[in-house]
Amino acid sequence: MIHENLWQVRNELQRNGILISFTGKLTQELIEEYGAAVKQYLESVNVPRNNVFQTFSIFIEQTQNIKNYCSSKSGTPIYDEIAQSCIVTIGNMDDKPYVCSGNLVEKSDAAGLEERLSPLITMDKEGLKQLYKTVLKQDVPPDANGSGLGLIDIARKASRPLEYSITEIDPRFSFFTLKAVV
């Protein structure tokens, strides 16, 4: 089966400029390994150094965000389904690297995501910087598994406004995607 489809899969990847793609459950070890590979690969295809650093940074924030989201569901019956649903791609389109990732989210979490993302899309760099500094100085709630800075940082490092989508999959889940162009 895969033999017959692989050509189509390959063409689809190429059409989207996807250089590296992986799916499934993310662990810290995998994030580190993939991160090093992403860096090496982009350097080998002569992506400018600053773009390599930015891509690496966006990649780490996106994957750690997803991993933290999955961890927040640990111990619940939907954990496996969410953790296995992750996809992360790194591509190059019109000479600009991008990181695009997706994962299932519980439907009740979709609104919160949208609430956090939509203001970032309309903010300019100066606005994002001020927001970043404000959040950086806020106290972190004791149960937080992140600093609340990840998405703001991704938006700051991207050269264009972030793009995202939330698509209903079934009564329980939506599929969330986030794309950041370096």
């Binding site: 810290q28 580190e32 600053n50 940074s57 750690q64 910087k129 972190v140 600093s147 800075l149 940082d153």
Partner: protein, 130 residues
């Protein structure tokens, strides 16, 4: 006071805090799975050290962080706030941030910390390709 020494890993920096030298070094990439857990002993040691600081010699925090994720940045902020408070209390502390100027995000990160702190804070150019 016992020095705090933690060797570097892929995703955590080397920590070398030596009270006898008055030098606190954080060096390497920082993007651990749980930054708060990693930096907790670092913050605790610093707290203790600064509280009992008597000496007149300057205490230097030496930073070299080619990549730092956002939750580590938050922890670093907490660490530097302790230094800032010591400075405001009249204690002789300073920050030296060694930076690869070719890396915009690395320099920008150092610069933004510098903007918000009043203690002596120097950004030092790293010799290229060392």
């Amino acid at each position: 006071m016992e020095p705090l020494i933690i060797p570097a890993t892929n995703s955590t920096p080397q920590i070398h805090f030596d009270a006898s030298l008055g030098k606190l070094v954080v060096k390497g990439q920082s993007y651990p799975e749980n930054a708060f857990k990693f930096y907790e002993p670092v913050l605790a040691w610093t707290n203790d050290y600064l509280q009992h600081l008597q000496e007149q010699a300057v205490v230097t925090m030496e930073l070299e962080l080619p990549y730092i994720n956002t939750s580590s940045t938050k922890c670093l902020m907490m660490l530097l706030e302790k230094f800032e408070a010591a400075h405001c209390a009249g204690k002789p502390v300073k920050v030296e941030w060694i930076c690869n100027m070719d890396n915009e995000s690395e320099y920008e990160c150092a610069e933004e910390f510098q903007e918000d702190l009043t203690l002596p804070f120097e950004i030092i150019e790293k010799n290229s390709d060392v």
